[in-house]
């Protein structure tokens, strides 16, 4: 059996909105997050963060700090360097420049916020006091503040990166010029997505406890990838992996930011090993804004050519990623713009495309994963250009999409970059959105509002989302990472089922949704299943990232369950005088197919296997426990679309999102309410990214939006009600036809909101291509258009 095999699961509780079993603990404050972990003798670490964006430490004096009350240890980069030479991140493809993040910088400092010293004390407050007593003198280097400066390579942002270029790719270079020459309509733009912070409500955190007697290192981490960081810590700290455990308590949101190995995590381990006491590092909000992986900053210079019917003739996209000072682990800078261009043409028929990507270093915090990473920028550029094409050709934004989306007859369709699209409901999505919005009614409303000097706009976005990311997808994205996950399924003597999985949860509800999958695998009630997760001592896995846990959960649990079901069928066949392949399980019974009367309770068959030797066939292995791996055989593509209606007050520059619409096709839904929760949360983040959120660095490389007073996260006032419709196109690569969907709204809803702002202002001849569309930017655009009153 191969890791891509698909076990049969008949949906029963799959598809039902089962209320989440993890809620009571969360609702009563009884659930424990990493900051709630208290261990005997535990110490607290605080990291001194560089105030300068680029330079070098000429002298650092920690003597005063080390002498302060409650302070146990103060380390600089030099102390750490002896123990760990840093966290290397590279990608095994030609031309890629890897980088090494120092755990604490002891030579070149490449961004403001980079750690340069750490104080460990009996309380966090005392540790912070100690940081203030550390005297550092810096030598400044010239600052590379943005990709424009980086491209000139007059100065280097990171001495280890020649020409500031981590990677360049002209992955696809069709001849598009001919198409553009013949085009009936050409549209182009330079679209800038903001540098943002995923901002989980719980900042990062890590507790390390080294026990010298057993040489074991036990870690508690607010992470999405416990197994990955366990292995990487073992390698980078040269620590025996079998003695290293990473425990994941409840996690207060991740969204990709917690899907990395962070320098502070390695640091906490080193400190605990050094001191022989538990060390807790709990990030505060300002650290999170300064140092947690940032995201999304791309420049997409995109152009599209259409024939007179509005059909796409060609697309050109040159994407530049502002990667910050280093590659993050494990994703590297490729995760942003470069992976973005690889799906830039989906889900449309694009006969010719020229796609290139630049990944450049600057003196800013490194970028990493954040929900929809890479895809958001190109999708935004593409969808705004489609709207412009529609305006240029005088057809509706729905119609131009209808004329270009892939249709049933196109499947399987191989995109110009070689992505095989097996199925999808792209056309149905366009129709559905148009019906939900009642487009004619909107046009009337829009016209009426204009007469009153009010500016309404409609924006659309159609997307496809590679989900259940595994080896195939990562290779397709030019990131040759091989991965697999496992689950262990055990049927207990009383017929209850225990599942242990390598995935973890940061609010996605796996305790409930994975139980629904396992329940259906054995045809038993969901209450009879318990999911164990959160320790690397159990299963292995790549982590909860990239819309993969539903797919991976179903794949692994399905395959492990099948190994156990074989034994149940064998015994049941004897007891029911039937052939094993006639036996099936449903409604808590094990019975002959098509004859529920000829069967016995699931618990009875299981009990017989445990306790009644006479029921066993020859050479029967009664172990009702199996561990299986799963790695999807190919990219599992979900699809859908978003629409936004906004009103722009051109006098104040304020934008109000009136309503949002989402159509989602993630195959068979496990738990519809959970699916809708993922959509709504992602849409809120999309609104934030397009209207509010922006990490602003000044000319001096200083982050000037270092508090939540200045970094504006969307609130209940900024996010409207969201109307959701579902389509279900099952995948044949995943048990029960399940697909992933966690990122869809952050891939596509920003494009819809951005398109709506542009639509509202189009009548004034205004285009907005830099985001967020802040009141200041809208004011500037309106003034420039001379329409200001």
């Amino acid at each position: 059996m191969g890791k891509g095999d698909v076990a049969y699961i008949r949906p029963k509780s799959i598809g039902v909105s089962v209320p989440r079993r993890e809620d009571p603990g969360l609702l009563t404050g009884r659930a424990r997050y990493v900051a709630d972990i208290v261990l005997p003798d535990m110490l607290h670490a605080a990291v001194l963060r560089s105030p300068i964006a680029h330079g070098r430490i000429t002298s650092i004096d920690v003597s005063a700090a080390a002498a302060m009350p409650g302070v146990v240890l103060v380390w600089t980069g030099r102390d750490v360097r002896e123990r760990c030479s840093g966290l290397p991140a590279t990608m095994d493809i030609p031309g890629f420049v890897g980088t090494v993040q120092p755990v604490l910088a002891d030579d070149e400092i490449c961004f403001a916020g980079e750690g340069i010293a750490v104080a460990v004390a009996t309380t966090r407050a005392l540790a912070e006091d100690a940081l203030e007593a550390i005297v550092v003198i810096f030598e400044d280097y010239p600052i590379v503040g943005d990709v424009a400066a980086a491209k000139t390579a007059e100065n280097l942002a990171n001495a280890k990166v020649p020409r500031n270029l981590l990677y360049y790719s002209d992955r696809l270079s069709d001849d598009v010029e001919t198409a553009f020459a013949q085009a009936a309509a050409k549209v182009e733009g330079c679209f800038r997505t903001p540098r943002v912070n995923a901002s989980p409500m719980e900042p990062r955190g890590f507790v390390a406890r080294y026990e010298w007697t057993s040489k074991t290192l036990t870690c508690w981490s607010a992470t999405q990838m416990p197994n990955l960081i366990k292995t990487l810590l073992a390698i980078f700290l040269n620590f025996p992996e079998q003695n290293l455990e990473v425990i994941t308590p409840f996690v207060g949101g991740g969204f990709g930011q917690k899907a990395h190995l962070h320098t502070e995590e390695a640091l906490a381990c080193l400190l605990s090993i050094e001191l022989g006491r538990p060390v807790s590092w709990i990030e505060d909000r300002q650290e999170n804004l300064l140092r947690a992986p940032q995201a999304k900053q791309q420049v997409n210079e995109m152009a599209m050519a259409f024939d007179s019917e509005g059909r796409i003739l060609a697309m050109r996209d040159s994407v530049t990623t502002d990667a910050g000072a280093y590659n993050t682990i494990p994703w590297t800078a490729l995760i942003e713009g470069h992976s973005g261009i690889l799906v830039a043409t989906d889900p449309y028929r694009v006969p010719a495309a020229a796609l290139e990507s630049f990944s450049l270093v600057t003196n800013k915090c490194p970028i990493g994963a954040y929900r929809g990473v890479g895809f958001t920028g190109p999708v935004l550029a593409r969808e705004i250009l489609l709207d412009r094409g529609a305006r240029a050709l005088g057809i509706s934004p729905f119609e131009i999409r209808r004329r270009n989306v892939l249709r049933k007859e196109d499947f399987p369709y191989v995109s110009r970059v070689g992505h095989t699209i097996r199925e999808g409901t792209f056309l149905e999505t366009v129709d559905k959105l148009e019906a939900m919005i009642d487009y004619p009614a909107f046009l009337e409303r829009q016209a009426a509002a204009r007469k009153e000097g009010r500016y309404l706009g409609l924006g659309l976005s159609i997307f496809s989302e590679p989900t259940g990311i595994g080896t195939r997808t990562m290779h397709f994205l030019d990131s040759p990472i091989t991965s697999h996950d496992t689950a262990t399924v055990r049927v207990e003597p009383t017929g209850k089922v225990t599942v242990t999985t390598g995935t973890v949860t940061a609010g996605q509800g796996h305790h409930t949704t994975l139980a629904q999958i396992a329940a259906d695998a054995f045809g038993i009630p969901v209450e009879d299943v318990t999911i164990n997760m959160g320790s690397t001592k159990h299963s292995v896995g790549f982590g909860t990232v990239a819309s993969r846990s539903a797919v991976i959960g179903a794949g692994t649990i399905g395959r492990a369950s099948e190994m156990v079901r074989v034994k149940i069928r064998a015994v049941a066949a004897r007891l029911l005088q039937a052939e094993p392949d006639e036996i099936e399980m449903s409604e808590g019974m094990v019975h002959v197919r098509g004859d529920p009367g000829r069967g016995m309770p699931f618990a009875q068959v299981v009990g017989a296997i445990y306790f009644a030797d006479a029921t066993h066939p020859e050479d029967f292995d009664p172990a009702l426990e199996a561990t299986a791996a799963y790695d999807p055989a190919d990219i599992i593509l979900a699809n859908g679309g978003h629409a936004a209606i906004v009103e722009v007050d051109i006098e104040t520059g304020l934008v109000r999102v009136e309503r949002m619409y989402a159509v989602e096709d993630c195959g068979k839904m496990i738990n519809p309410v959970v699916v809708e929760g993922q959509i709504r949360g992602g849409v809120a983040q999309g609104i934030g990214m397009i209207l509010l959120e922006e990490l602003i660095y000044d000319a001096n490389g200083q982050l000037v939006t270092a508090t939540l007073q200045d970094y504006l996260l969307p609130t209940a006032d900024d996010v409207p009600d969201i109307e959701i419709a579902h389509l279900e196109t099952p995948s044949d690569l995943v048990p029960a036809g399940i697909k992933g969907m966690g990122e869809s709204a952050m891939i596509s809803s920003p494009a819809a909101v951005a398109g709506a702002v542009n639509d509202a202002l189009a009548c004034l001849g205004i285009t907005i291509e830099q985001f967020p569309a802040s009141p200041q930017r809208i004011f500037d655009a309106v003034s420039a258009a001379g329409k200001s009153r």
Binding site: E651, T652, T707, Q709, Q776
Partner: protein, 284 residues
């Protein structure tokens, strides 16, 4: 982001509080703490002692006089928002209070604390400036009254001298009709620009006008030219627009990453016009 270390005292009387502040120049009064605490969490402020005013009853009482209200410095925004005296006699303040932060902050944040902190983007300084309020200051063996026009001196900077406490605010009632307009990045946040406009219209003409601006300078700013333009005129769209233009023209507006000076000036013109039009239409 833990607070730096400080000593703490919670006096029961005003005299005790003033003595504590007089004894230690680096001690700071603690009112609602909704502005001071964040600055301390960022370690931009490290007072040697916090003098908690929360137990001093006299600072928490308000008195309605014949022609004015005296509001205790430690009365919370939430209490003022519920006050019938304020809603009936200082409608401008009631309207502005709806823009002050969020419920949990209004429950702790105090009127006096907001004035003493003097954030350029805060609503209450504009309100007392617009209504010609008077700050009553108490020092060790000294008492003085400072009119709003002399009280706000710049960012976080007021006429309160070291060792002095703001104990109460006198706000005279008036016969103007008031409207308050604000633009912030979002509800409950500090204003990018705000306007408080008071008009008295007699037989169709504006007999008296008051136009005060906030968030655009480092302190509340009076738009005298706009006021002059309104007086004597029948208020219509054109007059309102011109008043807005005059309020903005020549205004030395602040500039930060949220809003540059030109944008703030343009907001002033819009907000003043909108406030005037609301009043002319009799909208509340």
């Amino acid at each position: 982001m833990k607070f730096p270390a400080f000593a703490y005292a919670a006096p029961e009387t005003l005299d005790e509080a003033v003595d504590l502040l007089a004894d230690d120049p680096d001690a700071r009064p603690l009112a609602g703490g909704q502005s001071l605490m964040p600055i301390m969490a960022l370690r931009l402020a490290a007072p040697t002692m916090l003098v908690d005013l929360d137990r001093i009853g006299t600072l928490k009482s308000s008195v309605a006089g014949e022609n004015s209200l005296r509001i205790g410095a430690m009365v919370t925004h939430a209490e003022n928002a519920r006050s019938l005296d304020i809603s009936s006699r200082l409608p401008l303040m009631s309207e502005a209070l709806r823009h002050v932060a969020h419920q949990a902050v209004r429950n702790r944040g105090t009127f006096g604390g907001s004035l003493a902190h003097a954030d350029a983007g805060a609503e209450m300084p504009l309100v007392v400036a617009a209504l010609d309020g008077t700050m009553l200051l108490r020092g060790k063996g000294s008492e003085r009254a400072v009119p709003a026009s002399d009280f706000f001196l710049g960012h976080y900077t007021t006429a309160i001298e070291p060792g002095e406490l703001l104990v109460a605010i006198d706000i005279p009632t008036n016969d103007l009709q008031w409207a308050f307009e604000e633009v912030a990045r979002r509800n409950g946040y500090l204003a990018l620009a705000m306007a408080a406009v008071g008009l008295c219209v007699e037989d169709g003409r504006c007999a008296e006008a008051r136009v005060m601006l906030g968030g655009v300078s480092d302190r509340p700013v009076r738009a005298a030219a706009a006021e002059a333009h309104l007086v004597g005129r029948a208020v219509d769209e054109a007059v309102a627009r011109e008043a807005g233009r005059l309020a903005a023209s020549g205004l030395e507006a602040r500039s930060d990453t949220n809003a540059d000076a030109a944008y703030r000036r343009s907001l002033v013109a819009v907000l003043v016009r909108r406030a005037i039009m609301r009043l002319s239409k009799g909208e509340r």
